[in-house]
Symmetry: C2
Subunit: 130 residues, 2 copies
């Protein structure tokens, strides 16, 4: 299988460096903007403020060759298979992020609870799964 | 952004045609196998039976140009922006599926609750997000 991932937009975030990102994003209240490319704007027409959504990002700085990893904050921990972790370093570095829509204006979506680096490509938006 | 998605394996499923797939997968008890490519087997070393995981698939038969869609079972329904839906037809046809691991033997993972077509490429496995 050979398939090309398209960016549908970009995250605009106050987090400029990896060290700015928290280890867990559950408690995050950081607000970020999603700048949707104009050619995909029709796809976001029905997003409403207050709704929880899942964002899929492409963690473009990741090492795609890693298959075992350690927690970032514990170099004494055992190495674990990446498919049991949320490490960005994995064969397809796709991030999943549950966030809340704050507003939608034209092709800009403001969300809360998103902890990803500024300029991270956005590749999909989906309803929350149960 | 131009990035190539890699298949990490393939779904082996009793569902051979789109018409075999239920409209909602919540109630599904279908068992399926994930055949992980040998070069990625180290990444699944820590998956355990009984654990819930999220699978990311690449819905290779999708129409990637659709931005508005209708429910498959209701042609009178209004068209809705694809990013508010789970339609497979979307710019990056990535499927998210919450499933339960039944067994892991070498590079074969048996799961329950997965409703995707036979031979669908698998692109990632992640822990469940809250």
């Amino acid at each position: 299988m050979d398939a090309l991932i398209k960016s549908i937009g970009t995250v605009q975030s106050p987090l400029k460096r990896l060290e700015d990102c928290p280890l867990q994003e559950r408690e995050s209240q950081t607000a970020a903007k999603l700048l949707i490319l104009p050619e995909f704007a029709d796809g976001i027409a029905d997003l409403q403020p207050g709704v929880k959504i899942i964002l899929l990002t492409w963690m473009h700085l990741a090492d795609r060759t890693e298959l075992k990893t350690q927690p970032r904050n514990n170099i004494d921990a055992p190495f674990v298979g990446v498919f049991s972790t949320r490490s960005p370093h994995r064969p397809n570095p796709i991030g999943l992020h549950k966030v809340t829509v704050l507003s939608v204006k034209a092709n800009v979506i403001k969300v809360s609870g998103l902890e990803v680096l500024d300029q991270t490509p956005l590749i999909d938006i989906k309803p929350v799964i149960d």
